[in-house]
Symmetry: C2
Subunit: 617 residues, 2 copies
């Protein structure tokens, strides 16, 4: 069996227009020009195009490049540990080999994409872009990092390389990407990174680290939101179970992006302006013994004019009233004293924000009656209590029982609004339990979700990859027995085509230089690999998916980074405009990802040329 | 049904000795003294004991406490994002409520422990202690953090609290813990944190964040090591799939602790001195077209005296020799040119460290022959090539075929050592695939493991909890329908008892003031909850599990933090001394965790007093 040499490929005529002729002063195509010359021309063109002196492998120049001045005003990534050195060793060994082979300035294009949607679903929320761009904008090796690199490389490595490393940055890199918070589908690159081979290769690991978990957890959050429905409040409570502190902070950020309302994580609140929520734990309840401990027993009325001298006594009064009322006869007897003391103390500390964790002893026999006694006392003083939190047991049953209790109190004591007090549930909740609760019926207003949400328990990793698709204008294809691992070669443009009903119908990849699809014009969309899967589409709306978020010094217009709030809205808007069957939890319909007819032909031409023909004996 | 009030409990005489009488100048027990007085006495005692002025709730004093001077020379945690504010909102609301209720200086004891071992196993590796101690040593709210806290708290909160927050640190906190890298078992606290209620409550979330993932991933690494065996090299390759950048750095650290040999993560290498490894990716291979690209074709001999002018030609020579040799006839024909060019470039860059990724086109028809040609050329120049990496396909079959090829080359060309070249495998490997490979047979020397290892795919969260077990010398118990959720009350000492064969037999918890078990002395060990499970044990060795790793200003002797290397050795040593059936992957035998007879009686006395008696009608 003979493996074909790519240098011998003859390019069929229909391809030239789209893939090989560049809009450069000097045109080159590798069927005519030898690779070395082609590369030289490319570099010349780049220099001309960018109006820059040619990049040179000259230690002096590299060393003299101003240090510590990021290319833009962008601050670095949230986590200061995200540096150029946060990468795999093999990026450095490759960088050295590229440099030694004088390939470091080859113009490379990498696509960052995922092959499969997580959680058995048919969509992914793209997140992490802002951090990627901040990383790229500040990408630069510090001296001590280069010193470390030198210390672990073989002594035979040339010193010029380390000096070169000191000088590199992303000034010659461009990053095109789909907007953060967008719905994305397998094989359609979320990001396209172009620039000198050595530099864009070095970005690989860090970009993947910043996108993989961000997109995974944002998708997880969006799925929880879909199941819970828009009327529920979703609180992310995962910090303690997250995979490392940064896992916690990232989770808070991207769960908010994916549709959560608030977090328990204070530092995430401070960093990103996410609303924070929290009340107390079982330890708080059990740290109290009895109301005798409470020394400051007075509480001002909400009007701040009057004062109740014995708030503790007032609570006792209300507790007796509840116990004596016909409706509650036999429902409970004596409630737990330490719990009541804890609730009382919490109410004295937070009269305007009174919430109780009611399951330390017994929800319906102690927690809820104790809560109601304190809440009634507060309401008498003009405050509006908030509600309860359930952290164990049958959440459906307990929430319904608690609601009945509240409604009965409202009726019994003519306390308007009491029946509508908030019920928060927070015991090992995930997508499936939310779904089960919906089916069983419940009276829960808010869900606090931790472990399953932030660790993405159902599938804790997203497999985004970063694949070389073009070098010096020459397409690269990676083959595999597994169709989902075959890459779509070349630099591409991606479009989302919308149908008559306003829903996206199909994502379409075309060669960089193909004309964009037009509204109302019929276009053939083909499955990238399966010959028989194809359709003519007449789009009612065409959305170009890429914008340039990092232009380096190319002069391209650079899209400003949207705020987290704005990406969150974008995500919610995107989900709202999807055809519901694509995003449902159970047996969702796959969304179509396609290529143009020309790109299809090109892929298959390259594929057949690269794939060895097996020999069976 | 009546809930018993804990203030009314009468403490049975046998308990006084062990739980309530403190070794303080003034003795108190809550059966005799009211809680307020008891607390006052406690604070007085603490002040006397510590030789310190009493802590006071006085704004002026708090504000005047020197700022920014950590209590010790310990640097902060690895991740600068690990600050006092990296916590849940409810810790702050509780702190305020404690402060308002004047309970903030109550002496509290919290236990940090897990309830279930991960991955279906019967052990857990305790990790994260060093980071916890560094966190505690530097625990202090910065002004902007307090300002943020104030901004999200209700306006009614008293300013004095925020000033108080500014002044707190861990000077009055003690942390006892089991050594990092130790094998630990459910319910036996890994850490015991003592100090003022407000401060030790505030530590909860961060300590859990630092221990949960660290212990989880260290355990995962140890399990992979157990299955792979000690003769294999294990490489952690997980950064790109980790849950956030810090997930990656933590994974590298704790996988090393758990028994891995190296990481791909450069920054982890720099920070922790972990060996780093890496070669090249498929992108490197496919960025080359042919050997014509290689401009620098000469390579010095290993002796640095001679030089080979045409190393590229030498490789061609060896490739022909292999093709012509009888043994290889028909095994392959022409190999892939771009792959050969990439290998050649890599060898020119790293003649002393030559490794090839051989699966880009076809392992046995292209990758291995190409590798051998380059390796033979290197060997001819006096270098010692390293080996190959397989990243796809049937790793058992391919490694065996590659080994045969190497052995044949050694024989054919009289190249000593060639048959023993290293084979590294790195395709989605986990504990189960390692086990399957062992069963099928393979010739792999090293495994690169990423996703499954660092995200702990099999179980991505460990559920360590932090439970209040004592306040002001009074034990606290938390009840639950689920036995594993019942806490063991009171401040305890923990021992590991070893048997005649040198294996640990049982972990024993006793009350803080009970005498330690003695070598050769029979002691009753009881299951904490199940009456009939008990055994007399005559230990041959007794190991006290706790040391004080953070003494604050108590004057207790503070254990220095061991190095990562030393914790790693400790972990390996601990695993080596376990009875093998406890740590095997399949159906391991549970290790026994027990309490003393006295502690058993005490738990059950408290339990019955706290648990409501149900009423069925």
């Amino acid at each position: 069996m003979e493996l074909l040499d790519r240098t011998k490929l003859t390019i069929p005529p229909f391809e030239r227009d789209n893939f090989l002729e560049m809009s450069n002063p000097v045109s080159c195509s590798y069927s005519k020009v030898d690779p070395g010359t082609a590369r030289a021309i490319r570099k010349l063109n780049d220099g001309l195009r960018n109006g820059l002196a040619l990049p040179v492998k000259d230690e002096q120049v590299a060393v003299n490049t101003p240090r510590g001045n990021p290319l833009s005003e962008l601050k670095g990534p949230t986590n200061p540990m995200v540096t150029a050195l946060l990468t795999d060793m093999y990026q450095i060994t490759m960088a050295y080999a590229y440099w030694r082979a004088d390939k470091h300035l080859d113009e490379a294009v990498f696509d960052l994409f995922h092959r499969n949607n997580p959680f058995g679903g048919e969509y992914t929320i793209f997140a992490g872009l802002e951090e990627c761009i901040k990383f790229a904008a500040n990408f630069r090796f510090k001296d001590y990092e280069v010193d470390y690199v030198r210390s672990i490389m073989p002594p035979s490595c040339e010193e010029g390389f380390f000096n070169y490393l000191r000088g590199i940055d992303c000034s010659n890199v461009n990053i095109h990407a789909i907007a953060e918070g967008s719905i994305v589908f397998p094989r359609v690159p979320m990001m396209r990174v172009e620039g000198p081979l050595l530099v864009v290769q070095l970005l690989e690991t860090t970009l993947l680290t910043l996108v993989n978990y961000a997109s995974l957890v944002a998708t997880n959050a969006a799925r929880h939101r879909q199941v819970a429905g828009n009327s529920k409040i979703l609180l992310e409570f995962g910090l303690r179970r997250a995979q490392g502190p940064d896992g916690g902070i990232s989770a808070s950020k991207y769960c908010y992006l994916g549709g959560f309302d608030a977090t328990s994580n204070l530092d995430a609140g401070r960093r990103f302006g996410i609303p924070v929520r929290g009340t107390h734990s079982h330890a708080f309840i059990s740290s109290f013994v009895s109301s005798d401990e409470i020394t400051q027993r007075s509480l001002a009325y909400a009007n701040k004019i009057d004062s109740c001298d014995d708030f503790v006594g007032l609570i006792q009064y209300w507790l007796s009233k509840i116990q004596e009322a016909d409706f509650f006869q036999g429902k409970f007897s004596e409630t737990n004293h330490s719990e009541l003391a804890a609730f009382t103390s919490y109410a004295l500390a937070f009269p305007t924000e009174f919430v109780s964790l009611v399951d330390t002893y017994d929800v319906m026999r102690s927690g809820v009656p104790n809560f109601c006694a304190v809440a009634l006392a507060l309401q008498q003083l003009g405050y509006k209590p908030k509600g309860i939190r359930l952290d164990s047991g049958d959440l459906s049953y307990l929430s319904i029982e608690a609601r009945k209790f509240f409604v009965a109190i409202e009726k019994q004591f003519a306390m308007p609004g009491f029946g509508k007090l908030s019920i928060t549930a927070s015991n090992d909740i995930n997508e499936d339990t939310l779904d089960a609760l919906n089916k069983q019926g419940h009276e829960i207003n808010a869900f606090g979700i931790g472990t399953h949400l932030v660790t993405c328990y159902k599938q804790p990793a997203l497999g985004c990859v970063y694949k070389l698709v073009e070098v010096n204008g020459q397409p690269r294809i990676k083959l595999s027995e597994d169709l989902s691992k075959v890459t779509i070669p070349g630099k591409k443009q991606c479009y989302r085509l919308y149908g008559k009903e306003g829903f996206p119908m199909v994502d379409l990849m075309v060669g960089e230089n193909e004309p964009p699809p037009k509204v109302q014009e019929r276009i053939l969309c083909r499955h990238p690999f399966l010959e028989s899967k194809r359709a003519y589409v007449v789009p009612q709306k065409v959305e170009a998916l890429y914008k340039c978020y990092w232009a380096g010094k190319s002069g391209l217009q650079q899209e400003p980074l949207p705020s987290l709030e704005s990406s969150r809205h974008h995500c919610q808007h995107q989900l709202a405009t999807m055809r519901p069957d694509h995003i449902r939890s159970l047996y969702p319909t796959p969304y179509k990802v396609s290529v143009s007819g020309k790109l299809y032909d090109y892929i298959h031409f390259l594929w057949l040329n690269e794939a060895p023909i097996g020999e069976l004996h």
